[in-house]
């Protein structure tokens, strides 16, 4: 069930005890069916805020989001969300964590278990079904979180700095895995990251945000051929793209 995601004129103001905080101002974006879009930007620029709005978890102060042409005002099951922290339930085993979305959706236990096992196989976590989250490494936990986000066969996958806490090597490993999964499932994907190389390596387009209040400054189209391997990182073209994103980021920060 491939999906398109559109956001138009998003503005978000947080109201708290200490006054108002303009987090996003005039953000518009459009993600095509099966596309992989990465969002980069300085810390605190509103990336998580934007992703929560795209997922229907947060209602923007102004602007709208359309999922498959339908207005989105509350969370949908067609949207899989991977949170900035891994967010697994410590009292559930790996298998039962992945089963959770299906259980909530009222899918019979047996079917849910079978599908969860398939998803765990997809993310390379067979053999860990009965482990508890605290027994996993950061990368393994992140795989489980991705399996959980995908288990309901969502049309859209939203990832919030999923590999932020990993070391460089596991991050590369996970990038490859994610690319493989995305290619297998062709989910429309929006991923927030602060790692430029990761963004370029994975995405079809990289959106560069300005510091708070967050706006989308530039977009860099990554026309690297697919399927991509890690070697692509060392090509001249990749270097040129990195420079462009880097410059866009610096330029927007300087404003």
């Amino acid at each position: 069930m491939p999906s398109t995601l559109r956001a138009e004129g998003i503005r978000h103001v947080y109201r708290g005890g200490s006054g108002e905080l303009l987090a996003l101002d005039g953000v518009s974006l459009s993600v095509d069916e099966g596309e992989f879009v990465a969002i980069v930007g300085p810390s605190g620029c509103g990336k998580t805020t934007l992703l929560r709005i795209l997922g229907g978890l947060l209602t923007p102060t102004e602007g709208w989001v359309h999922l498959n042409g339908q207005p989105l005002s509350s969370p949908r099951r067609q949207v899989g969300y991977v949170f900035q922290n891994v967010n697994l339930m410590p009292w559930r085993t790996v298998l039962r964590n992945v089963m959770l979305p299906l259980e909530v959706a009222g899918v019979p236990r047996g079917v849910a278990e079978e599908r969860a096992r398939q998803l765990l196989a997809l993310v390379g976590m067979e053999g860990f079904e009965e482990a508890y989250p605290r027994q996993l490494s950061g990368g393994m936990a992140q795989r489980v979180a991705i399996a959980r986000a995908l288990v309901g066969s969502p049309g859209v996958l939203l990832l919030d700095e999923p590999f932020g806490s990993l070391d460089a090597l596991s991050r590369e490993q996970m990038n490859l895995e994610l690319l493989r999964i995305w290619q297998a499932r062709r989910v429309t994907t929006v991923m927030v990251t602060h790692d430029l190389q990761e963004a370029i390596f994975l995405a079809d387009r990289v959106l560069v945000m300005s510091p708070r209040p967050g706006r989308i400054r530039t977009q860099v189209v990554v026309d690297l051929p697919r399927p991509r391997t890690l070697e692509v990182v060392y090509t001249e073209f990749f270097g040129a793209l990195s420079r462009r994103v880097r410059e866009a980021l610096d330029a927007s920060s300087a404003l």
Partner: protein, 309 residues
Amino acid sequence: MAGRLPRWDVAPKTLVFGAFSFDGNGAVLMQKQENRQLLSGTERRVWQGGRSLVRFARQRFELLLVPVAMAVFVGVWALIGRLGNYPPFLLPTPVQVWNRFLTVAADGTLWYHTSITLWEILGGLVLGLTTASLLGYLLAKSPLLERFLSPYIVASQSVPIVALAPLLIVWFGFGVLSKVLVCALTIFFPVLINTMIGLRTVERDLMDLMRALQASRWQVFRYLELPASLPVLLGGLKIGVTLSVIGAVVGEFAQSDRGLGFLVNLANRGLFDTPLMFVALLVLMTIALSLYGIVSVMEWLLLRWKRES
């Protein structure tokens, strides 16, 4: 996206026959023979359940120290009795208490009074736990309600239950009901506080996850709030069951003609039958220890994930 895996939202019901489950932490899954994998999963879970009980006994081998500690206690007690040679109404010897136990056990007196107190404790626990956890849930969910009610709740805690007990007896009579109420009141506060703390410790991000999954209020409770707060809830339950014994006795002390508290009172004030008083006190301790033990076993079974690492 279509293809590969069956879509869950159109998952044909016919794939599963007679699937049912008891939710909780260790789910038991019953599945038709056809699905070998699931059936073995079921067996594995049952087996794990049994094994974890065995492990409980084995790893808790310190439990074996309990009889040893008791023997030491009784020994010291016997020694003091022998050295001081006190009259039984001051300090009876273990043998005198044991003999007294045998007589009251034989004529049914002890069982009668014990059963009364047990009913009071049971009633008090049911009443106290349900009201405290229900109110705790509401207060945890509604800061407004909490702000409105908490002064009353805290103030009510400054009134000693001992002072309140006679009033409750005037209102609700001599019978079991007034004791159940005293008992319920005694455990109310700690259980209430623990319920609130437990529910407040639920992570906001997991709450977001449940929202993203479009979980209903009930599902949020069942899949998130209950399991997340269970460690704290069980902690409150441990305090609650211990206090419930005190609560029942306080009620009986205020005014009663039956129950273990009555027996202590009678033995102590009326008959100077100190051995009988010791018997009643030891039974009360046994009740408290058993209740505590039951909650410990529940903890062991329900919080398996806390031990695994």
